[in-house]
C-alpha cells in the first residue's frame, strides 16, 4: 500500500447548481492532501455547467447526457484513479477532516470495502435541524455483515449516499451499478453489495451535512409513492444483487426479495399494496402474503424487544385487514419516519413505553 493513498471524491450532480459549489468547495477543502475531485454532471439543464467551469483544472469534469444517478456514479468511478472513492451528492457537504479519518479507518481495516459515517441533517440554508442520519440513537454497524445481508438485506442503519466511502477495487468488483433500476437510490445497491465484498466499518463521527430541501427526490412524495419507489427498486434490483453475489461467490441469498426479513422493505411493501394497489410493483402480490412475511420478519428481527415484535406484528395484521381509509392512517403512522417518531413520542408519553427498538448486530462484530 502506498504511503499516501489517492482519494477520489465523486460529486454527482443533476440540476443542483445552487448547491453544487458548496459541495465542490467541501471536497477541495479537505485536510487530507491527496484528493482528486471528480464532478459528474448528469445532463443538467440549469446553471450547473457554469458552476463547474469556475473550478477549471482543480477538478476532473465528466459531462454526460442525463441517465440517472447510477449512470453518473458509474461514469465517475470509470474516471476515478483513487484507491478510495467517496460518493458525494451535489446537495450535500463533507466535513473538512472526514477524508483523513476514513483513510485511517481503511488503513486500520485492510479487509474493509465500505466505511460509513453519520451526516448532520440540515435545511436548504444549511441550518442544522437537530438530527443526524442515521440518528445518534442507532449505533453504526461494523464487521462482517454478510450473514445479516443474506437474511435481512441492508436493513442496518445506513447513511444517505454521501455518508459512504468505498474501496475502489471493491466498487469495481460489484459494478457497474444497473443504470435502469437505480435511477435514484444508488446507496441501496451499494449498501447491499459492498458488505458482500468485504467488511464494513462504521465511523461514529458526523462527517458531513445531508441537506433536506423541497426539491429532494423524496421531498414532497406521499407515503405511498415513497414506499412504492423503495419496493420497486428493491424488487427490480434483486436479480442484480444476486448476480453480484454470484460473482463474489457468496451463496445463500433467498430467491425472491420478499423472502428477506427486512422490516422496512416489508413495511413499504404493505403500504404500497394497501394504499396504491394498482401501482404495486410486484406482480401477483397480496396483502395476506405481505402480512405473513411481515409478521415472520418482525418475529425474526434481531435486537428488538418482545413489545416491538408484538406491535409490529399487530401492525402488519391490522394493515392487511384494514379498510382503505384506516389503512392510510395506519400506513402513514409507521411508514413515514417523521410521523413514526411522533407516534413513538406520543406512545411513550402515554404508556411510558420508553424502550425504543435498538438495532444492533446479531453477533458482536
Amino acid at each position: 500500500m502506498n504511503e499516501r493513498e489517492l482519494v477520489s471524491i465523486i460529486v454527482n450532480n443533476y440540476n443542483y447548481a445552487s448547491f453544487l459549489g458548496e459541495a465542490i468547495e467541501s471536497a477541495l477543502g479537505q485536510t487530507y492532501p491527496s484528493v482528486e475531485v471528480i464532478v459528474v454532471d448528469d445532463g443538467s439543464t440549469d446553471d450547473s455547467r457554469r458552476v463547474i467551469e469556475r473550478y477549471g483544472d482543480r477538478i476532473v469534469r465528466v459531462l454526460k447526457a442525463n441517465g440517472g444517478q447510477a449512470s453518473a456514479v458509474n461514469a465517475g468511478v470509470a474516471a476515478a484513479r483513487g484507491d478510495i472513492v467517496f460518493l458525494l451528492d451535489a446537495d450535500d457537504v463533507l466535513a473538512p477532516d472526514i477524508v483523513a479519518k476514513v483513510v485511517d479507518a481503511f488503513r486500520d481495516h485492510p479487509e474493509a470495502s465500505l466505511v460509513q459515517f453519520r451526516l448532520a441533517v440540515v435545511d436548504a440554508e444549511r441550518r442544522p435541524l437537530g438530527r443526524c442520519d442515521p440518528p445518534l440513537t442507532h449505533p453504526l454497524w461494523s464487521g462482517d455483515l454478510r450473514e445479516h445481508i443474506l437474511r435481512h438485506g441492508n436493513s442496518f442503519p445506513c447513511p444517505p449516499t454521501s455518508g459512504n466511502a468505498a474501496r475502489a477495487a471493491a466498487l469495481r468488483r460489484i459494478g457497474p451499478i444497473p443504470e435502469d433500476v437505480y435511477r435514484y437510490g444508488v446507496d441501496q445497491f451499494l449498501t447491499m453489495t459492498l458488505p458482500l465484498a468485504g467488511q464494513v466499518v462504521g465511523l461514529d463521527v458526523i462527517g458531513g451535512e445531508y441537506r433536506v430541501h423541497g426539491t429532494n427526490f423524496y421531498g414532497g412524495a406521499s407515503a405511498a409513492s415513497r414506499a412504492q419507489h423503495a419496493v420497486e427498486v428493491a424488487y427490480h434490483g434483486w436479480p442484480h444483487v444476486k448476480m453480484v453475489a454470484d460473482r463474489l461467490e457468496v451463496k445463500g441469498l433467498p430467491s425472491r426479495v420478499t423472502d428477506l426479513a427486512d422490516i422496512s422493505l416489508q413495511r413499504d411493501r404493505m403500504v404500497s399494496l394497501k394504499l396504491a394497489p394498482a401501482r404495486h410493483p410486484i406482480p401477483g402480490d397480496r396483502p395476506l402474503r405481505a402480512a405473513v412475511d411481515g409478521v415472520a420478519t418482525a418475529l425474526r428481527y434481531p435486537g428488538t424487544s418482545p413489545a416491538w415484535k408484538l406491535f409490529q406484528s399487530l401492525w402488519f395484521v391490522g394493515m392487511a385487514m384494514a379498510p382503505r381509509r384506516l389503512a392510510v392512517r395506519l400506513g402513514e403512522a409507521v411508514a413515514v419516519p417523521e410521523s413514526r417518531d411522533r407516534l413513538r413520542q406520543r406512545l411513550s408519553g402515554l404508556l411510558q413505553v420508553g424502550r425504543r427498538p435498538v438495532h444492533q448486530p446479531s453477533r458482536g462484530g
Binding site: V181, H236, W238, M243, D246
Partner: protein
C-alpha cells in the same frame, strides 16, 4: 468485446416461402450496423430457396436436408462468425432497433450469456392481437437455476433469444438425432446455459412480432393434446440431462402435470393405473421442489391434484376453450 461486436442472425426456414421475405427484410433492416444474416433452409419443398436466392450476397444461405429446427440452428451456428448470435424463426419479424438494444445489454452486463425479450402476437397478416408472448417477463438477470427451466418458468421463444458465442459453444450442437429435440431450440439452449452456470437477462419489452398462422405445427387439429404431451417429453428430457450432468436426481413436476392432462385429453380411463403412477411421480417431484421453490411447489402440487382429480370431460372442455396458455383474449373477439 469490441465496441461494435459482430452479431450473427440465424434464420431457420422450412416451407415458409410465403413468409420468409418479410423476416429477412426485418433482419436486414436492423439499425445496428455490424450484422451478418445466415438463412438456413431446412430442406424446404416450396419456393423458399428462390426467395432466399433473391437476396444474393446480402444474406449467407445454407441449404441442407430436412432435420428440424434444432438441426438447422446447429448448421447455422457452425456457419456463423459473430460474437453474439440471434435466432429468428422464418415466420416472425423483428423491430428495427432490437439488435442495438440487445447488444447494449450484453455490453453492460459481462456475465450475462443470453438475453430474451417478449414478442407481440399477431395474426397471419401481422396485425397485433393485443397481447404478447409471454404475457409477463421479469425485467432483469435470470440466475442459472435448474428449476426455472425444468418447470418452464422462463418462457422466451426462439425469435426472442440471443446469446454470446462463448455461451453457444458450450451448448451446441443440439442432439437432434433422437427426435426429442426436433424443435424447441430455445428451451434446450437456455437450460444448457443454466447447466454451465451462465446468467441470462430478460427484458419485459416486446421487440418483434410472433405470427400465428394456419400453417403452424400447433395450429393443426388435435394440437393441444400434442403440445401438452410434447411439453412433458421435453421437460422429462431436460430433467434427464440435468440428472446425468450433475450426478443427482432432478425431476420436473411439469412432466407429471402435463402427462395427467394429456391422458385426460386423449381419453384415458379416469382412474387407470397409469394415472395413479403419474400421481405418485408427481408427488415425488413436488417434494423435490419444496426446498428450492416452496411456493412454486405448492402451485404445481395443486395443479397435479386438480389434473388428477377432475373428470376428463371437464379437462377437455377447459383446454379446448383456452389452449395450453391462458393468454388474455383480445376484447374485440370475446
Amino acid at each position: 468485446m469490441t465496441d461494435m461486436p459482430l452479431v450473427s442472425i440465424i434464420i431457420d426456414n422450412y416451407n415458409y416461402g410465403h413468409l420468409i421475405a418479410e423476416t429477412i427484410d426485418s433482419a436486414l433492416a436492423q439499425t445496428y450496423p455490424n450484422i451478418e444474416v445466415i438463412v438456413v433452409d431446412d430442406g424446404s419443398t416450396d419456393n423458399s430457396r428462390e426467395v432466399i436466392a433473391r437476396y444474393g450476397d446480402r444474406v449467407i444461405p445454407v441449404f441442407k436436408e430436412n432435420g428440424g429446427q434444432c438441426s438447422a440452428f446447429n448448421v447455422g451456428f457452425a456457419a456463423s462468425h459473430g460474437d453474439i448470435i440471434a435466432l429468428l424463426d422464418s415466420d416472425d419479424v423483428w423491430d428495427p432497433e432490437k439488435i442495438a438494444l440487445m447488444v447494449d445489454i450484453f455490453q453492460r452486463y459481462p456475465e450475462v450469456g443470453w438475453v430474451g425479450h417478449k414478442l407481440t402476437i399477431t395474426d397471419a397478416k401481422l396485425n397485433s392481437l393485443g397481447y404478447t408472448f409471454p404475457d409477463l417477463l421479469p425485467n432483469g438477470p435470470v440466475p442459472p437455476d435448474p428449476h426455472l427451466h425444468l418447470e418452464r418458468m422462463v418462457r422466451v421463444t426462439v425469435s426472442g433469444l440471443l446469446f454470446r458465442r462463448s455461451a453457444g459453444e458450450r451448448a451446441f450442437p443440439i442432439p437432434y438425432e433422437s427426435g426429442t429435440w426436433r424443435t424447441c431450440a430455445d428451451v434446450y439452449l437456455m437450460s444448457m446455459f443454466a447447466i454451465e452456470g451462465i446468467w441470462g437477462y430478460t427484458l419485459d419489452e416486446s421487440l418483434g412480432l410472433y405470427r400465428q398462422h394456419p400453417g403452424q405445427e400447433f395450429a393443426q387439429p388435435g394440437a393441444i393434446a400434442r403440445r401438452v404431451e410434447r411439453d412433458a417429453v421435453i421437460s422429462e428430457a431436460l430433467a434427464e440431462i440435468w440428472t446425468r450432468r450433475k450426478g443427482r436426481r432432478f425431476s420436473s413436476t411439469t412432466v407429471y402435470k402435463h402427462r395427467l392432462v394429456a391422458s385426460a385429453l386423449t381419453g384415458h380411463a379416469i382412474l387407470s393405473g397409469e394415472r395413479w403412477r403419474l400421481l405418485a411421480g408427481g408427488i415425488r417431484s413436488v417434494v423435490d421442489l419444496v426446498r428450492p421453490h416452496p411456493r412454486l411447489a405448492v402451485r404445481q402440487g395443486l395443479g397435479i391434484a386438480i389434473a388428477f382429480a377432475f373428470p376428463h370431460w371437464w379437462t377437455r372442455r377447459v383446454f379446448r376453450r383456452f389452449g395450453t396458455q391462458f393468454t388474455p383474449q383480445p376484447a374485440a373477439t370475446s
